[in-house]
Symmetry: C2
């Protein structure tokens, strides 16, 4: 199952880095084969199309065929279905992650979180396959495919932390919690009206996340809340 015998292959964003094994010193840095690179790209392209059209359950053989590649080749590049998912949606996940980075500088941390979540919904609406896919990957408990999940957790975590530190948000919620809730709500997209529904739910959610001035008698520092609490939308 290892593509290279004496070496491990680590794959970062777009490039492929070869780490030379210690046991046999055949050669230093053999350039990756051109056909391999090409095929990998083709498979990704095809997968994106096929998954977006047919959902994450779509046939891998269809992907291979669309890519003009043998099924064996597909499996060599992406040993599991989730590996393929991961690769397909990596870019999207990174975009979301970067958005969080930007929002970190917003004034109101609660609003920043809210906006991030809303953008997430937007994303899901566009990249049809994404949520179901990631949800599936997460659900199957596959530790190794946690790239996206971890990345998003970090993203959401930074927003969350900031809001908590600012005293605007309850502190007993973890980024994982929040991500789970978010994914969950989006999971049933493709029913009519899902998008509006999810946006409503997210609003409720964020409202619920605020430190409640009533409950905690002293936490009145978070006055600015009032403005947003008003019930927008």
């Amino acid at each position: 199952m290892q593509p290279c015998k004496g070496s491990a292959r680590v794959q970062s964003n777009q490039f492929v880095i070869y780490i030379i094994g210690m046991d046999d010193h055949t050669d230093q840095t053999r350039k990756p084969r051109a056909d391999a690179v090409r095929n990998r790209e083709r498979v990704l392209e095809a997968a994106k199309l096929v998954f977006n059209a047919g959902g994450p359950e779509a046939s891998l053989e269809a992907v291979a065929k669309r890519a003009g590649v043998g099924i064996g080749t597909l499996y060599r590049h992406f040993p599991t279905r989730e590996d393929l998912f991961e690769a397909v949606y990596r870019r999207e996940v990174e975009q979301l992650s970067e958005l969080a980075e930007q929002l970190k500088n917003a004034k109101d941390p609660v609003d920043a979180l809210r906006r991030w979540l809303r953008s997430g919904v937007e994303f899901v609406a566009t990249k049809k396959g994404m949520v179901a896919t990631l949800a599936l990957a997460v659900q199957s408990g596959s530790e190794l495919h946690a790239f996206s999940f971890e990345r998003l957790t970090t993203a959401i975590g930074s927003l969350l932390d900031r809001a908590i530190t600012a005293g605007a948000m309850r502190a007993d919620i973890s980024p994982e919690d929040l991500l789970r809730a978010f994914f969950g709500m989006c999971y049933m997209h493709d029913q009519p009206g899902w998008q509006a529904s999810v946006l409503r739910m997210l609003d409720v959610f964020v409202d619920g996340l605020r430190v409640q001035p009533i409950a905690k008698g002293k936490a009145l520092a978070a006055k600015p809340a009032k403005a947003t609490v008003k019930r927008k939308r």
Copy 2:
């Protein structure tokens, strides 16, 4: 695909009712065959075991085998996988539904809703297969398998209505919204710690649902009208 030529079969909770067709008057009410009834029950029993163990994707052939029944028999009784789901979890859904009925008499309507949701989590924890199953049924947009979904919508709706009418909860959330959110959150059960996480999230959620009393005591009386008018949808 119709089991009886000149008659339609309507299946309510546990019994099978025969409605005589108009076109041919063969006989009035032929008793259902004993073996059919027996096999149906066997399949249900087996399905419950198999789904709870192997999740909703489990093989129907495994179910048939476990039931000691041919695959054809299984398909005759339950033409689609969702039909089988529906039948298997019907009882559970009804229990949840009844619980909502009882909670309608609670004093605090918001708390009633909260308790119902918590019970839902309990339920999910026990009946492993249920959520994934219903989620799948819902997601696949199968109009006909909406029994459970509708039942739960009604249940949750009655609790919601009461809270809204009492002015304790924002009025722009539909039962479907809420159910979606609930299912979504539960969807990723089987990760470690999911249950605690979902409970936390539900708390957040219910908090977010309350009409936010900036000044608690006095605003309560005035709120209801305002809240309900606010956003109809």
